[in-house]
């Protein structure tokens, strides 16, 4: 029982820590495309929190719900990141495709 508690605490601390890192990254970065990178750790943190609930509760109602939530976030978060980046490029440039400058010198972007 002690081992299970220790694993629960470790998973919970790492999961919440990832969420804090994601929040700090979104707050500190200056450009939209830089901020978007920090949404990845947030969905990974959800998976770790779901794992902590599994270790603490075993197979129960709430661990099933946590697994569903983590699975949904794992699918929805990359989708939303893509949609946001695409919408930002459309609002900045009028089209999401690479501009002629970006095609000529891709390393500078």
């Amino acid at each position: 029982m002690r081992v299970a508690e220790a694993i629960t605490y470790a998973l919970l601390v790492v999961g919440v820590g990832l969420e804090v890192v994601a929040t700090l990254g979104v707050m500190v970065m200056t450009r939209v495309y830089d901020r978007l990178h920090y949404l990845g750790p947030a969905s990974l943190g959800a998976v770790l929190i779901a794992a902590a609930l599994w270790v603490a509760e075993g197979s129960s109602f709430i661990s099933l719900k946590a697994t569903l939530l983590a699975a949904f976030l794992l699918i929805a978060s990359p989708t939303l990141t893509h949609v946001t980046a695409r919408a930002t490029r459309i609002s900045e440039l009028g089209d999401w495709r690479p501009t002629t400058d970006e095609r000529a010198e891709p390393r500078q972007r």
């Binding site: 804090v20 979104v26 949404l39 969905s43 609930l53 709430i62 949609v83 946001t84």
Partner: protein, 83 residues
């Protein structure tokens, strides 16, 4: 407070920077912050329902995650049209 409630409070404190980004930065930056805030709030609801030992309330977390997904999609549509 037990460990679940402490974790939920940490996540809820994380909503404040998201609010700051929404208020002070551009529309696109706010969209990223809204997406993160949806994740944070749904995880906080999940942890609170475990901490308060009200397991059926974890439905709220799932519903919030789905609804914030749809909401962010809508805001992205508005961002596309805002040119």
């Amino acid at each position: 407070m037990n460990e679940w409630q402490i974790a939920a409070s940490v996540l809820l404190v994380g909503l404040i920077p998201c609010l700051w980004v929404c208020a002070r930065r551009t529309f696109a930056d706010g969209l990223v912050a809204v997406q993160l805030a949806g994740t944070l709030a749904s995880l906080a609801l999940l942890l609170l329902s475990e901490g308060e030992e009200r397991q059926p309330f974890s439905d709220l977390a799932l519903v919030l995650a789905v609804l914030s997904f749809v909401g962010t999609l809508l805001f992205a549509r508005f961002l596309e049209r805002s040119r």
